[in-house]
Structures are given as structure tokens and as C-alpha cells.
């Protein structure tokens, strides 16, 4: 095998447009992390490590033929459920929430696994029953979604629960859930809002209330939102310039390498930078939609659509929360925020998208 052949084999199952989009976002991530780290290299270097690990996993998944991918659905889902129940029973409490499970060798957060596991399981279920889809199948799929979501919401991890609900809902929607049911769900959701409200923890209610008026608790719960908005707003059209963000460098922005990294970016690069960032996101999402549209099987269509829409939702929720139109729920900016787990989860999704794109000819033939 020549060198050239080896390289071809390596990139064979990678999708170049997606790679470009993802690469651009990762580049933004490293740049902004450098700034958020007060011009240090600690955070960017560990993010590089995260990227390398996640990229390897993506490559593996992308090279995995689709029928293998499908086979992973049930085991991943079951494992995820076991771990979630384990968390509920034996989980470690950290920051007032029971999200982590100490397995002796590592502490893991099973809800992250379910970000992939739930849509995967639902898509697998719809594929299995493709020929004879009835209302009953939608109910079962909805249960496959709601049980883990309920467990995650109880941890409590509202952000993850909402995002997994969204990704599951996208599967249901793309699988052809009737508009009447969607309308019904919408009405039910509205009607059950007061009940859900009463189930929320105080701090969650606070966060939602803060959305209405962050200034009422400027140094408490509203602090994140206000400082985020100040950073974004003071960035102006052209931004303050790279490494010149005062909100960032003077320590006013909380969680600026993770959930609030967008505030750092927006302060330094302004509206123009935001437009570029939105364009990159839309490029990645657009490519995801193209792959979805071209997907050859029911399973891959649902999976690709859900992954793409979830990715878009992540981006929207994070930027919306930093710029003060959504409550602060603890959702990272996909591929930009610092964090190994979220990087891994996202690239696993992109690996599946690539596999779907690059293996479809094999399926067809």
C-alpha cells in the first residue's frame, strides 16, 4: 500500500465539507479559549487533547458501516438506562445535583451517553417497525424518550433533559408524527407547565424568572446573564479586538471557557464575528441537512436529521442564553466550549453523519 493509498483509506469515510465546518469551529474554540484563559495556553492545549481524542472516535464511527451502527443502538440505550438508574440510586452529589457515577476507575455522567443513545434507540425502533407504523409505535418511541428524560430531569439536569427531549422529538417529528399529535403535545405542554413549574427546584425557577428581569438579582442569580449581555452588547459591531475584551480579561464573565465562551467571542469580535460564527454553524447544519436528505434508509434519515437538528438546537440555546433571551441552563456552545465530554458526544454524532454519507452507496449497491 502506497502512502497515497493509505491517506485515501484514512479520509475515505470522512465528509470534507463537514470536516471544514467542524475544523473552523474548533479553530474558533482554540482562539477564544486562549483569550478566555487570559492569553494563556493551558485551556487551548487541553482542548487540543479533547479534540484529538474526539476526532479519533469520530473517525472510528465514520468508518463503521451502518448495519454495525444500528446494532449498537440497543446496547448503548440499555447501558445508558442502567447507568441512569445507577446514578439515581448511588450517584455522587456534586454542586447540588446527582449526575455522576463513580465506577472506581472513572467518574462518568451517563446523561451524556444518552444524548446519542436516545435518538439512536428511537431511530432503530422506527426502522424495525418501518413497514407497519401505527400510533402505538409512536407511543412506544415516546416512552423510550420520556423515561430517560424523566431520570435526567430528576438529577436535576434541566438543560440536558430538555436537549434530549428535543433530539427525541426531532426523531418523532421526522418519523412522521401526525400534525394533530404535535398540536396536541403542544397544548398538553402548555397545560402541564404549571405542574412542571411546581416540580422544579428553586434555583431552576430562579433561573427562569431571571430571564424576565435579570437585574432584580444582579449579583446573585442574574449575574451570569447580565455580565454576558454586557459583554455581547459592549462588543458592538466590530468588537473590542482579539484579547481586548475587558469583561473577559477583568474576570467579570463567569464560566467563560465553558458555557459563556460565546460572550468572550462576541465581545472581542462583535456583530461581524457573530455573523461569521452563525454562518459557520449554518454551513455545518446545512451540510447535515444535505446528508439527511440524501440518506438512504429510514434509520439513517431519522438519525442524521436528529443529530443535525440537535446540533442546531445546542448552538441556539447556548447563544440565546448568553445573549439573554433564554434562561441559563448550562448548555455548552457546540465544538467551541471547553470540555472533553461534549466534544466527544458531538463528534460521535458527526462520525455517524459521515458514516451515513459515506456508506450509503454501499447500502444501495
Amino acid at each position: 500500500m502506497t502512502k497515497r493509498q493509505l491517506w485515501q483509506r484514512f479520509i475515505e469515510h470522512l465528509d470534507v465539507p463537514l470536516l471544514i465546518g467542524i475544523g473552523l469551529l474548533m479553530l474558533v474554540s482554540l482562539l477564544v479559549l486562549h483569550s478566555a484563559d487570559n492569553a494563556g495556553w493551558g485551556r487551548p492545549m487541553s482542548q487540543v487533547l479533547n479534540i484529538v481524542v474526539a476526532f479519533t472516535c469520530m473517525w472510528l464511527i465514520a468508518n463503521l458501516p451502518l448495519h454495525y451502527l444500528m446494532r449498537t443502538a440497543v446496547p448503548i440505550y440499555v447501558l445508558g438506562m442502567v447507568l441512569l438508574i445507577g446514578v439515581a440510586l448511588f450517584g455522587e452529589i456534586s454542586h447540588g445535583a446527582r449526575r455522576w457515577l463513580n465506577l472506581g476507575v472513572a467518574t462518568i455522567q451517563p446523561s451524556e451517553l444518552m444524548k446519542i443513545g436516545v435518538p439512536l434507540m428511537m431511530a432503530w425502533y422506527f426502522e424495525k417497525n418501518e413497514a407497519t407504523l401505527t400510533m402505538k409505535n409512536y407511543v412506544v418511541a415516546a416512552l423510550l424518550l420520556l423515561v430517560p428524560v424523566a431520570l435526567i430531569a430528576r438529577q436535576p439536569d434541566l438543560g440536558t433533559a430538555i436537549l434530549i427531549s428535543a433530539s427525541g422529538f426531532y426523531v418523532l417529528f421526522l418519523a412522521g408524527l401526525s400534525w394533530k399529535v404535535i398540536g396536541g403535545m403542544f397544548v398538553t405542554a402548555l397545560a402541564s407547565a404549571p405542574v412542571l413549574w411546581s416540580m422544579l427546584h428553586d434555583y431552576q425557577r430562579h433561573r427562569i424568572l431571571m430571564l424576565l428581569d435579570p437585574s432584580q438579582d444582579a449579583l446573585g442569580k442574574g449575574y451570569h446573564t447580565i455580565q454576558g449581555m454586557i459583554a455581547v452588547g459592549s462588543g458592538g459591531i466590530l468588537g473590542k479586538g482579539y484579547l481586548e475584551g475587558t469583561q473577559t480579561h477583568l474576570d467579570f464573565l463567569p464560566e467563560r471557557t465553558t458555557d459563556f465562551i460565546f460572550a468572550v467571542y462576541s465581545e472581542e469580535f462583535g456583530l461581524l464575528g457573530n455573523l461569521i460564527l452563525l454562518a459557520i454553524f449554518l454551513f455545518v447544519i446545512g451540510r447535515g441537512f444535505i446528508i439527511t436528505a440524501n440518506a438512504s434508509t429510514y434509520f439513517t434519515r431519522l438519525m442524521a436529521g436528529s443529530i443535525t437538528l440537535t446540533f442546531a438546537t445546542y448552538a441556539f440555546v447556548n447563544m440565546g442564553m448568553v445573549s439573554g433571551i433564554l434562561p441559563v441552563v448550562g448548555v455548552p456552545l457546540p465544538l467551541v466550549s471547553y470540555g472533553g465530554t461534549s466534544m466527544l458526544t458531538l463528534l460521535l454524532g458527526f462520525g455517524m453523519l459521515m458514516s451515513i454519507e459515506t456508506h450509503k452507496k454501499l447500502v444501495k449497491s
Binding site: L174, Q227, G233, T246, L309
Partner: protein, 633 residues
């Protein structure tokens, strides 16, 4: 066939799927559209607003407190200055447990219960992120001991601060006053005067004395340092700085040495002394005894010491020189005599016969000299201090003539000296009595009341500063100056001196020959009269008048010093000026419960004049002079 249908269904499914996908794309575009609108709103529409917020987040204005101005005497001797000392400061929200930290600190440096009380007080009124003093004036050893252990005390640090010091202590307590921590009342006052900005960062403000009355000059201009801060308020880097301007230097007309001699001349007596340069109103000595230690007040006095000072029978907190009002006693007589000459009620050589008493209606007014002074002219009336002469004189003049004449000398009015807390005193008149009393029967002035006014008793009550101003005016032939303590103010920045112009208040219309008559008589007092003992052998010609003010009416019984408790004894007074022909100094001395003016007040005046005119420093405690006294002053 069935295969065909399936294929068709497949196409339809793909169509429906792509329809839903299109809806999804619309959904995503809508979401991103919302974001875009939000970004435009924040970054374009409301950019200025958030820009301002970010700036105020970022820039903190740190005041730099100016050095307080110095106070020097007329010869440049320091009377108030600053020195730097080490303080131990605590930032409460940075410590791990405030109480524990203080307990632990007390094992390294001495922290008295008073320090703790003061710290608690500071804690109660503190501002955000402020460091609070727990101990001041640390010794070098304490500084070293703490420095070695500093790592154990987060939020505790040693700072160098400037402290105010008054080298003359209690001797100038009522003159210089003191500074103290700015309290709520001060804050309100500063805000009212729109000076609050200049006091950002200042901890102290003048509370009494010159420190208070010249606060504006002494404080200086607060500098500003703009620093970039992080969210914890920690300074990251300095952006700009405008330096503070130190307070101006006050150069007093007071002579520190003279002040010291005058203060010590009182011995254990309470009282006041004011010496004035008659030619311009400059105050040369300003004594109110007892004083107190002004440094007690600077960092907050504790309750116990405060109570001690306040409840002391000696009343050390009262500024007797300007605030105490006393009957002038016989020191009033020269002015009475001058008034009589001016108004034509007496000629100098005109005599009266003094049998030792004066009867008015059915009341007898006694003269202190048993058997009386016999035939008395004006000169003798002053030299021997004959009461009967003035009983008849007052009766002849009438209360309105007396009060109208005395008003010109400033009796019963504030002098306007540049120190606060001045009392008005009482210059009795018919009008005064009408205003003073509510009941109609008390409002009427009785002719009998005029008689004791003539010897400086009755309703008469004047502050020592008024007495000093009056004698200075007499010495200056009727040209009256406003007494003032500050001679000039030196601008710290430019070195420019602003002279406090002597302010001539008025020239009393007097005939020089009348003035000369009075002056001659007052010279006679110190030569052959009641002041002669005190001024025996003086190397200059001085003029004076003794006085004794009744504190307690003995209702006609013979006054005997030995039988009366000290606090009921008469106040001794003395007014003087010298050299008599060209006065350089005029003074008024009040000795509370000092008995006869000749015995206690005049010797004090002698020491002051000796030093001022001859540079003669008295021997320690030479209070043997003029123990005698002929029972009359």
C-alpha cells in the same frame, strides 16, 4: 405489482420526509434569525448602554487622600503635623472567620479591648471592600513579628498611614482642636456643601478648634487614580492619575512658647487667657485650661474616657476662652469710667465720698473696703478699685447709656474670631431684659439693677475673648480689630502666602484725652494699686486692672476665702496691656475660683508680658508672687 406499490410508497415517504426536513430547515433559520435580531439589538441598538456598563465595570476610581496641612505658630514652630505609622488592617470579607482571625492576631500583636471595640464600630459603618484598622502605631518589632506570620492571615495586612500629631497636646487642645473620623452628620454636611466628592477616601475631618474652622484649607484636594479592576475589585493596572494636593499650611499669629508659658502659669487653676496684638487683632496666646489630650479623639475615643472627660468637674471639654461667659467684675470699671468721660457724666478730678457703702432705696450696696475709700476721684477709683464710685456712676449714667457705650467695645457680641463655638455673653439693657424673660413682671428693668452693673456684676456676662478684644481696643485708642488666630495661609503647591488682613471693625468715637486718663489710671493700678504686687520690678510700663467676679452671693456676709469651698470661690480676672505708651500686647486673664484677681490672675499676666516683651522665661512654678491683696481689687 406489489413491488411497484412499495416503490411508490417509498417515493411518497421520501417526499413527506423531505417536506418535514424543509420545515426543520425553516425552524433552524427562524431560530438563527432570532439570534441575529438579538445580536443587532444588543450590539448596535443598545451598544452605548452596554459599553457604559462595561466601562463602569472595568474602571474604578480610587481616591488618593491628600496630606493634611500643617499648623505652625508665628515663628514656624509646628503645632499640628502628620507622621507616618504602621497600622494593622483587616479586609473582613477576605478573612477566614473574623473573630478567629482577630483572636489569632492578638497572639502576635497586642490588641486591646479598646482596639476591638473600635474595630467593631468601624465594621458597623464600613463600606464595601474596605480595609479596616484593627491596631495602629505598631512597633517595629510587632511589624516584624506579623510579617513573618503574614501567610497565615489572608485578608490582613500592614499599611503605612499618616497620623495627626499635636506636639503641644493639652496646651493647645482648645486652640488647635482635633480631627476625628467622619461621621454621619459630617457626611450630610459635606453633601450639603457639595464637598462629598473631595472627601472620597478621607477618613478624618476637623472636629473642633482650628482643625474645624480651617477644614477647607487644611484638607487639600483629593487625587484620583483610575484603575482597571476585575470583578473582585482588585486593581489590575493603572490608567490615569491626578495627584492629590496637600492641604495648605496655616501659620498662626499665636506664639507657641507664649502659649506654653501662659498655660503653665495657671498652675492647677482652671481658666482662660487671651493675648492679642492690639494693633491688628492677631491673637498671640489662646489658652483654655484644663485642656485634654487631643490624640484621644483621632481614632475614636472609647466610652469610658469620653465619660471621664465629660463628667469631670473641671469640664476640660469646655473652651473657656470663647464659650465661657463670666461677669467681668472690676475689669469693667475702666470702661465705665471712659463712658462717663465720653458722655460727660464725670470729670476726672471730680470726687465722691465713699463711706464704704451706697444706699439706693432701701438696699445697701457694700464696698469691699471696710470704712470706705474716703474721697475718691476717677484715678483713685480705678487704682484702688472703689465700688462706691461706680455704684453712683452707674446710677447717674443709667442702664441704656451704659449698654450703648459698652456695645461699642464688643461686650455681649461675638468677636468673630476664627474658631467656632463662640458665646454671645450678656450685655444687659432694658431691651435685653424684655427679650430674655417671658413673664411681664420680670421684663421690667429696675433702676436698682443698674447699680451692680457698674462694678461688672449683675447680669453682666462676657467671654474672655470679648474681654481681651475690649482691652486691646482700649489699648489701641478705640480702633477695634477682629481677633484672629491665623496670620497667613501658605499654599502647598505654589508656596504663595495669603495674608489674613487685619480686619478693622470700627473706630470708637472717643476723645484721646479721655483715653489717656483711663490709661494713666490703669498704669497706676500696676504701679501703686491692686496690680502693683504682681508687677513689682517689671522692666516695662504696663497698664492693668484686676477684677473679682462673684460666683456665689454671700448676702451681705463678709467674704472669707478660707470658709468657702473652692468651687464657690470668686473668679479672678485681670486685663492688661503693655508697654503702656505703645501697646504691643493686650490680654485678659480669667482664673476660675481663683479668688482675688490681684492674687491669682495678675501674676499670670505678668509672666506672659515678661516673656513677650523681655523674653523672660519664668522659673518653674513661681506662684509665690502677690499672695497678699488688700481685700479689694
Amino acid at each position: 405489482m406489489s413491488k411497484h406499490v412499495e416503490l411508490k410508497n417509498h417515493q411518497r415517504e421520501i417526499f413527506y420526509f423531505r417536506l418535514r426536513l424543509a420545515i426543520s430547515i425553516g425552524f433552524v433559520l427562524t431560530l438563527f434569525g432570532i439570534l441575529l435580531v438579538r445580536f443587532i439589538y444588543l450590539q448596535v441598538v443598545r451598544h452605548d448602554y452596554y459599553q457604559t456598563l462595561a466601562e463602569s465595570n472595568r474602571i474604578s476610581v480610587v481616591p488618593i487622600v491628600p496630606n493634611r496641612g500643617l499648623i505652625l505658630d508665628r515663628n514656624g514652630v509646628v503645632m499640628a503635623h502628620n507622621y507616618s505609622g504602621y497600622t494593622l488592617e483587616v479586609t473582613p470579607n477576605k478573612t477566614k472567620g473574623l473573630e478567629a482571625t482577630i483572636d489569632e492576631l492578638s497572639t502576635l500583636v497586642e490588641i486591646t479591648p479598646r482596639d476591638r471595640k473600635r474595630f467593631k464600630k468601624l465594621l458597623a459603618e464600613r463600606r464595601n471592600f474596605e480595609t479596616l484598622m484593627i491596631r495602629n502605631k505598631l512597633t517595629d518589632e510587632e511589624v516584624a513579628r506579623f510579617a513573618a506570620q503574614q501567610y497565615r492571615f489572608p485578608g490582613v495586612e500592614i499599611k503605612a498611614r499618616l497620623f495627626r500629631d499635636y506636639p503641644y497636646g493639652d496646651k493647645t487642645a482648645h486652640l488647635i482642636g482635633y480631627i476625628g473620623r467622619i461621621n454621619q452628620t459630617d457626611v450630610e454636611q459635606l453633601e450639603e456643601n457639595e464637598q462629598a466628592a473631595n472627601y472620597r477616601g478621607s477618613d478624618y475631618i476637623g472636629k473642633t478648634g482650628l482643625e474645624q474652622s480651617y477644614e477647607d484649607e487644611l484638607h487639600g484636594t483629593t487625587g484620583v487614580e483610575q484603575v482597571e479592576v476585575d470583578s473582585g475589585g482588585r486593581a489590575v493596572r493603572m490608567l490615569s492619575r491626578s495627584s492629590p494636593v496637600s492641604g495648605n499650611t496655616l501659620v498662626l499669629s499665636v506664639d507657641a512658647k507664649l502659649q506654653e508659658i501662659a498655660f503653665q502659669a495657671f498652675g492647677n487653676y482652671r481658666g482662660a487667657l487671651i493675648a492679642i496684638d492690639p494693633s491688628n487683632g492677631e491673637v498671640l496666646a489662646f489658652v483654655s485650661k484644663p485642656g485634654y489630650d487631643p490624640s484621644l479623639f483621632i481614632d475614636g475615643i472609647d466610652l469610658q474616657t469620653w465619660d471621664e472627660l465629660n463628667n469631670s468637674p473641671d469640664k476640660p471639654m469646655v473652651n473657656r476662652a470663647v464659650n465661657g461667659a463670666y461677669p467681668p467684675g472690676s475689669t469693667f470699671k475702666p470702661y465705665m469710667a471712659l463712658g462717663a468721660l465720653t458722655l460727660g457724666k464725670r470729670r476726672p478730678e471730680q470726687t465722691i465720698f465713699d463711706p464704704g457703702y451706697f444706699t439706693f432705696g432701701n438696699h445697701t450696696f457694700r464696698d469691699d473696703k471696710k470704712g470706705g475709700h474716703g474721697s475718691v476721684d476717677m484715678y483713685k477709683s480705678i487704682v484702688e478699685s472703689c465700688d462706691t464710685y461706680y455704684y453712683t456712676l452707674a446710677n447717674d449714667m443709667g442702664i441704656d447709656n451704659i449698654s450703648n457705650f459698652m456695645r461699642q467695645f464688643g461686650f455681649g457680641q461675638r468677636t468673630g474670631i476664627d474658631i467656632e463655638g463662640e458665646s454671645e455673653g450678656v450685655l444687659p439693657s432694658q431691651e435685653w431684659k424684655r427679650k430674655r424673660f417671658k413673664k411681664p413682671e420680670l421684663q421690667k428693668w429696675y433702676a436698682g439693677e443698674t447699680i451692680s452693673i457698674g462694678i461688672g456684676q449683675g447680669y453682666n456676662a462676657y467671654t474672655p475673648i470679648q474681654l481681651a478684644q475690649a482691652v486691646a481696643t482700649l489699648a489701641n485708642n478705640g480702633v477695634m480689630y477682629r481677633p484672629h488666630l491665623v496670620r497667613h495661609i501658605t499654599d502647598t503647591r505654589t508656596g504663595e502666602k495669603t495674608l489674613i488682613e487685619p480686619k478693622s471693625l470700627r473706630t470708637i468715637p472717643l476723645r484721646q484725652e479721655d483715653i489717656d486718663v483711663i490709661k494713666r489710671a490703669m498704669i497706676g493700678v500696676n504701679k501703686e494699686g491692686t496690680g502693683a504686687a504682681a508687677f513689682a520690678g517689671a522692666g516695662y510700663v504696663s497698664a492693668g486692672k484686676t477684677g473679682t467676679a462673684q460666683v456665689y452671693s454671700l448676702k451681705g456676709e463678709k467674704y472669707s476665702e478660707g470658709h468657702v469651698k473652692q468651687e464657690l470661690r470668686d473668679h479672678a480676672l485681670f486685663i492688661a496691656f503693655a508697654p503702656a505708651d505703645q501697646p504691643k500686647i493686650a490680654l485678659a486673664v480669667l482664673v476660675e475660683n481663683g479668688g482675688f484677681g490681684a492674687a491669682t490672675a495678675a501674676p499670670i499676666a505678668r509672666k506672659v508680658l515678661d516673656y513677650y516683651l523681655l523674653g523672660k522665661v519664668p522659673q518653674p512654678l513661681p506662684d509665690d508672687a502677690a499672695k497678699e491683696g488688700d481685700g479689694n481689687d
